[in-house]
């Protein structure tokens, strides 16, 4: 863990997943890009898959969050309850305050 990292976001903060348009190995699915949700928790720092995917290991770990979305905000035709949600893990550089 990179103990000195100060997370940019706190639980409850509204955030938008920015579509960075980055080619290659990324772990931000299209279905949450440009969607707005809330920080569920700050997970700490983890190795960056965008580097590791190309064998670049041992670099500084980066901040990761669990981000929570309303399903009705993700899918225009969502068939379910207003209460339904989805949570997934997004690295800080993909997030902007909303």
């Amino acid at each position: 863990m990179f103990a000195d990292t100060v997370p940019a976001f706190a639980p409850g903060d509204r955030v938008r997943v920015v579509d960075l348009g980055k080619p290659g190995h990324v772990r931000t699915p299209f279905y949450v890009r440009e969607k707005t949700g809330a920080i569920e928790e700050y997970c700490g720092t983890f190795d960056n898959p965008e580097e590791r995917g190309y064998g670049r290991v041992g670099l500084n770990p980066i901040p990761l969050y669990r981000v929570r979305f309303r399903q009705f905000d993700l899918w225009p035709d969502y068939d379910g309850s207003e209460r339904d949600e989805l949570v997934l893990e997004i690295y800080e550089h993909w997030l902007a305050a909303a």
Partner: protein, 106 residues
Amino acid sequence: MADRLVTDIGGTPAGAIPREEREPLFWERQLIATFNVLQQHGVLVIDEIRRTVEEMPKEAYDESTFYGRRVEAVADILIKKGVITAEELEERTREILESGTRDHVR
């Protein structure tokens, strides 16, 4: 703007979820163990496997199976890293297929 990865299928239309139980075959378990050992030795990391799978053409990805993808990805990485050559892999694979048995393989 980047294209959507072939593996980025969350939310895309799909049919019924296949429910047949399928115990991994012996060779499939051995494949997983081989990959784990290669990882332990620092030859490759799981992220490279994922990235290699993502580089498959869409048609190949759609036709592929779970273990088939792993075989292709590990082979590809081993060749790219110069651990084995494409030629020797092709030759050895052909020998095994021609013999039709697993017996002579260590």
